[in-house]
Structures are given as structure tokens and as C-alpha cells.
């Protein structure tokens, strides 16, 4: 696979991961984490591990984002630290 595409996706993974840690808004963090999962899924697919990519897309980007959003709705949206 083209190394440019690899590099682009990998840097997006790092940006989404660090962004979801730094952002103050918890809902934003949940959505960034979903984006991180989706980028990880693309990375798995590039590396040819389609089964793992499938799992990551359904569990990481799909259901766990819903769980995070459901949890955020029962707490405050802003973090203290």
C-alpha cells in the first residue's frame, strides 16, 4: 500500500487520540474517540486484517461510542481537570 496513505491515516490516529485526551468537552471526547476507532479500522484494513477491521468498526466506532454518549448524558459535559 502507498506509504503516503499509511502516513496520513496514522497521523490522523495520533491526532484523534491526543485530541480526545486533551479536549474539555466530554461529548466531544467521545466523538473524537469514535473517530480514532474508525481511523484504526481503516489502518487495519490497509494492513490486510479485514476481520479485525470489521470488529473495530462495529465495536469501537459503533457501539462503544453509543455507550460513551449514554454515559456522558448522565454526568456533566465539562471535565474539571
Amino acid at each position: 500500500m502507498m506509504w503516503e496513505l499509511d502516513l496520513l491515516v496514522l497521523s490522523l490516529v495520533v491526532i484523534c487520540g491526543v485530541g480526545s485526551l486533551l479536549i474539555r468537552d466530554l461529548l466531544g471526547a467521545a466523538i473524537l474517540f469514535g473517530a480514532y476507532s474508525f481511523m484504526m479500522c481503516v489502518l487495519w484494513a490497509i494492513m490486510g486484517a479485514v476481520d479485525v477491521a470489521f470488529t473495530e468498526a462495529s465495536v469501537g466506532a459503533g457501539v462503544s461510542t453509543v455507550f460513551f454518549v449514554a454515559a456522558v448524558f448522565h454526568t456533566t459535559r465539562r471535565t474539571k481537570d
Binding site: T55, S58, F67, A70, F73
Partner: protein
């Protein structure tokens, strides 16, 4: 304290990055995994299990024990979420809202009235109810059957293409979670009760372990599906393929039920009355 944490994280990260230098290069044909392990599976999968997708046969047959305990871990996660979040018997005397279906009039009563619900003219509604967006509601109604059909396809077609019980179960669960989000939790719970979900998650794990135990009863090793050949009236190779399918169905059931149980308890703070 924060500085100490940062130092520890940086040191651990540096150690991990240093350790990856010792890994064989990606796709190296001379690495131990590519020399002994992978060729065995790639060459023998088709003749031993008649499953074209080597990942499925490794997950559910050669490494079936791993997958059984992965399913058990999912089940345990569901049970622990249920135990932590669910409120038993603490029916708070909070007000319940009803909407008159014909006039759209909203009334608020002290506690739940069964008689009012059986009248058929009133619909129970969430306290933070907002009018449903017709686009979202119609689109989800339209999408959910297709999502469920796709999930069944993923479970059944895991032998030939990427997918399998785990992914299919998650998609099946996600379709019911979408229903709980797009309409409301009560109508989703009417379709599939909490008790049914609990039964399904237990039954899924039991199907997996039961298939293994059946092999044991037929005089073979635990999870050695070739022993099922006598029961299923097929040759041992076909029995391994069918055994993988049985196990995948069990995984799918357990994962689906667990995902919905976790969502329902998380979204309603364990009261299971109103969702997001």
C-alpha cells in the same frame, strides 16, 4: 503528581517504542510466525475444516478455547454492568407523564397507573420528551430490518468472508440500540424484554460450551468438532465446519444480548424506564 505521571508515561512509551525495534519487519517471510504457524493453517484449513476463511477456522476451531473464554468475558462484562447499574426494588415515587393520543394533552400523575395504560387512549412518555423528528424516525424504521438482515448474513457467511458471530452479534445489538434511541426505550423493551435478553446471553455461552461438552461426550477432545460427525450425519470435515457455525451462533446471541443489556442499563441509570 501530574509531572510524575507524565514521566512514567513517557518512559513506558519510550520503552515500548524501543521494544518494537526488536520485532521482525512487517510481513517478513523469515519471522517465526510466518515460518511455522501461519503456513500450517493456510495450507491445511481447507482440507481439515472446509472453511475458506482461515481467520474464522483459527478463531473458532484451532483456537476455539480462546474464543469460548472471550465470549465468557463479554458475558461477564454484561453481568457486572447489570449488577453495578441496575436498581432493584427502589421504585421511586416520581411523577410519570402520560400523553392523550387523540388530543396531544399531557398529564402528570404521582405514580404509575396501570389502568391508564390499559385504557388505550394514553401513552406513557419520558419526562424529557421532545417531538420525534419524522425524518430520523422513518429512516431508522426503514433501516433497522436491513441492518438486522446484514447482521444475520455476517454471522452465517463468516465461513467465507470477513465476519462471524462476534461482529454479527454487535451489529444485531446495534440495530436494537438504534431502535431505543430513535423511538424510546419502552417501545424497544416491548419488542425484546429484559428477561429474554438475560436468557439469550446465558444461552449463547451455553451453546458454545455445550457444543464443546458434546464433543467430550462423544469420546473426543473438548471442542473437537470432528466428533459431531455421527450426530450431524456428515463426514468429519463437514462436522468441523458445522461445529464452527454452531459456535458462531452462540457467540452472536451472547454478544447481541450483552450489548443491549449494557446500553439499557447505562442509558436509564439502571431504572429501565426512560432512555436518552
Amino acid at each position: 503528581m501530574k509531572l510524575l505521571g507524565l514521566i512514567i508515561v513517557l518512559a513506558t512509551g519510550a520503552l515500548l517504542i524501543l521494544a518494537t525495534a526488536e520485532f521482525p519487519p512487517w510481513g517478513d517471510p523469515n519471522s517465526p510466525a510466518s515460518l511455522h504457524v501461519s503456513p500450517r493453517y493456510i495450507e491445511k484449513t481447507m482440507e481439515e475444516t472446509s472453511v475458506p476463511n482461515a481467520v474464522t477456522s483459527v478463531l473458532a476451531d484451532y483456537r476455539g478455547f480462546d474464543t469460548m473464554f472471550e465470549t465468557t468475558v463479554i458475558f461477564a462484562a454484561g453481568v457486572s454492568c447489570f449488577m453495578l447499574l441496575r436498581l432493584f426494588g427502589k421504585e421511586k415515587s416520581e411523577t410519570v407523564h402520560y400523553r392523550h393520543l387523540l388530543t396531544g394533552l399531557t398529564i402528570r400523575v404521582r405514580r404509575r397507573r396501570e389502568g391508564l395504560e390499559q385504557l388505550g387512549e394514553f401513552e406513557r412518555m419520558d419526562s424529557l420528551w421532545t417531538p420525534h423528528d419524522i425524518i430520523l424516525r422513518t429512516l431508522s424504521r426503514f433501516l433497522i430490518p436491513f441492518i438486522q438482515l446484514f447482521a444475520l448474513y455476517v454471522i452465517a457467511h463468516g465461513h467465507h468472508s470477513p465476519g462471524g458471530g462476534f461482529q454479527g452479534g454487535v451489529i444485531l445489538g446495534a440495530s436494537l440500540i438504534l431502535m431505543a434511541i430513535s423511538q424510546d426505550m419502552n417501545s424497544a423493551l416491548e419488542r425484546i424484554r429484559e428477561r429474554t435478553l438475560a436468557m439469550l446471553s446465558v444461552a449463547g455461552v451455553a451453546i458454545y460450551a455445550g457444543t464443546g461438552a458434546m464433543c467430550l461426550l462423544l469420546g473426543s477432545n473438548f471442542l473437537d468438532y470432528a466428533a459431531l460427525a455421527r450426530l450431524l450425519w456428515v463426514d468429519p470435515v463437514g462436522a468441523r465446519s458445522l461445529g464452527i457455525f454452531l459456535v458462531e451462533v452462540g457467540v452472536g446471541m451472547a454478544v447481541m444480548a450483552t450489548m443491549i443489556v449494557i446500553y439499557h442499563n447505562l442509558a436509564s441509570e439502571g431504572r429501565l424506564d426512560e432512555g436518552l
